[in-house]
């Protein structure tokens, strides 16, 4: 029996199936993503990186930074906070509603404490509750022009670690070529390193001598991105503030500057429809129109919203 063609067809269809699923479909769904809008500010997102940072991406690629650093923030779920910004006119009704809401939300409050809370608005009145509880609370608290609002707070160990405000989504990488999400965390996640450490100078020093800034770091130094130069007339302005032999200074090469600019440009914290996030509720908001889950507008985001 000659099974040659059967084997060929079997392999062909099996592979065609997987090709269709994980090459063609992603290309149709994610490959044609357009810029989207942040919520609620409505700014275009993402914006392309500036030229120097774009060059830095190539240095990041050439030196294999992605083998130790991931750029994917994970998130386990989203919880809701309810924030009260304005007590409105009907104080006694609000007080009653507040006590009931706290009772229902499993965070009971004494009357005196509730009065104190109402006196010092804006304040979060419920924290870390589910969407249903928060929605009911918002309805219940909306008495006499009081202004309750619902805040979405992503949770997860990456977020608690300060590596990001929300999980990474496809839009974050729209303008990057090569996308390097990384696969292992030998070093910390870098998806938002530009938020944590926005100064390129810090990155330069850290690249040259990691352990001078982070005690116990296991990162290798990248001294080959710098050169030791004889000081001509006066020290150069971008020389590193490090002890060098007298008459010499340590100056970053263009590659180092580009890489530092790229690192400082890494920030993926814009609130989007797929990844709703509002700043922690303890900060008084500038705009109370927080997004309430899937009701927000967007027409350019074909990605599925994450499971709530």
């Amino acid at each position: 029996m000659n099974y040659g063609p059967v084997i060929f067809l079997a392999a062909f269809f099996a592979l065609a199936g997987s090709w269709f699923g994980f090459v063609l479909t992603p290309q149709m769904q994610v490959g044609h993503l357009q810029q989207t809008n942040t919520i609620p500010a409505g700014a275009l997102y993402p914006v392309a990186r500036p030229g120097l940072a774009r060059q830095g991406l190539d240095i990041y690629r050439a030196n294999g930074c992605a083998y130790c650093h991931s750029q994917q923030v994970g998130q386990i779920g989203t919880v809701c906070d309810v924030l009260l910004t304005d007590a409105g006119t009907n104080q006694p009704a609000l007080l009653e509603a507040l006590l009931k809401v706290r009772q229902d939300g499993g965070q009971p409050l004494s009357e005196a404490a509730a009065k104190q809370l109402l006196a010092a608005l804006p304040k979060p009145v419920l924290q870390g509750v589910t969407k249903e509880v928060a929605d009911t609370a918002v309805k219940a608290l909306a008495v006499g022009d009081a202004k309750p609002s619902l805040w979405l707070v992503p949770v997860g160990s990456d977020i608690a670690r300060g590596w990001g405000l929300r999980h990474s989504v496809a839009e974050d990488f729209l303008f990057d070529d090569t996308v390097m999400l990384g696969s292992q965390r030998i070093g910390p996640d870098l998806a938002n390193v530009g938020v944590r450490l926005s100064d390129p100078k810090w990155h330069l020093l850290h690249l040259y001598a990691p352990r001078s800034l982070v005690n116990g770091s296991t990162m290798p130094p990248y001294r080959f991105l710098f050169e030791k130069r004889r000081i001509e007339r006066a020290p150069t302005s971008d020389a590193l503030p490090l002890p060098a032999p007298p008459g010499y200074e340590i100056v970053p090469k263009p590659e180092a500057k580009a890489l530092a600019a790229y690192l400082a440009s890494l920030r993926a914290d814009a609130p989007l429809w797929e990844a709703p996030v509002t700043v922690p509720a303890s900060v008084p908001p500038a705009d109370t129109n927080a997004p309430a889950g899937g009701t927000a507008i967007t027409n350019s985001a074909p990605t599925n919203p994450p499971a709530k």
């Binding site: 490959g31 030196n63 130790c68 670690r161 090569t178 996308v179 999400l181 290798p220 080959f224």
Partner: protein
Amino acid sequence: MFLSAAIWLVIASAFALIASIKFHSPNFLADCPWLTYGRVWPAYTNSVLYGCCLQAGLGTILWVFTHLGLTTLAQRGLVTLSASFWNLGVTIGVLGILGGDSTGFQNLEMPSYATLFLFLSYLLIGFWAVITFHQRRQRALFVSQWYLFAALFWFAWIYSTAQLLLVTFPVRGVTQSVIDWWYSDNLQVVWLGLVGLGAIFYFVPKLTGRPLYSHYLALFTFWMLILFGSWGGIPNTAPVPAWMPALSATSTVLTLLPLVAVALNVHWTLAGDFSKLSAFPALRFIVFGAAAFLLAGLMKIGGVLLDTNQLLHFTWFARAREQLYIYGFFAMVMFGTIYRVLPQLTGTELPWPKLMRAHFWLAAAGIVLVFLPLTIGGIVETFKLANPAIDFVTISKSTLPFLRVSTLGDLLIAAGHVLFAANLIELAHRFYKAKMAAAYALATADLFKTAEVKP
């Protein structure tokens, strides 16, 4: 081909050692851009994958096709030439990575000027392999041939797709990562799986002298492997629409079916008769490989099922699994194959059979010493990562003791490779010496003949 695979292994283990030592002292070789960790590590993985695994795999395919088909290799000269082009491609590619020309896609780091060599020589070798397959005189197919024939075709497709869509005409955004994951998983699970299992199903019956327990179970494995193995690889933290990681996880769990089928088939074929293991050291390598295949597969499924914090795949656990799969399974099966095939092919005895036994023990101990500490370290790391109160630097420092043990493993593996390469080089040396002697004898005989005729 087998010989150059061995030489690549030695080179690769040198890279692995350098990469490993970097964790002992981050300053080691830090001032040389060519040897920074981010370049040495991909140079290592690429020399192992393309230099050793694919090359040894292709050699196995050709050998099984000629042997089971009772035929000779079509266009032997051209295939040899293509193989040297393949080696040229790997050399250029690895140098390109060290020089900073990496494409940045994991498992596809070789720059485009090297991949052209690789792809063309693969096509040529593959083409003549298919012709050899077609010309077989034994028409009935053994199950190994199914595996190897499908593998031939598989790589050509995934490699061309990945190269075209990632390097030549790059797609936008995270689709790049999705295609890279798709490629890597297809290469490792399906290609290495097909070739490795094809070799296992051929050599286990051959060396034990028992028939394969179930032909149908092996065919079932084949179907399940190509159906479910080709959909894995997308991690659950990936910034892509949620259906992709979900689908990927589901199919990964379903690869349990081929795993169980392989385990049962090999187990029943051996039928508890382990005396052959000591009689044929080559079989030891292959049975070890089958066990590693199972364990690595189970680790992958376990990783998908138990990774509730979505952190496990960022730790050394993933690295341990990959090393166990590529090295413990595939490379070990290939060692067994090479030790079995080369003496037969060249008609030369293996020069130092004792070194082969030593190689087995070194490699086995080395793999265990790499895989165990990294697995345990990875699991510990996962729990620590899940607790945001523990500082990240503390976590990364706490993995260092595990890495130190694994360097010892790397060292043993490298020593094993040196023995392996020494054995093969000596074998090649003796083979060519014998060939030269034969040719010389022939030539001188002619000379004497003519000399006798003349007067």
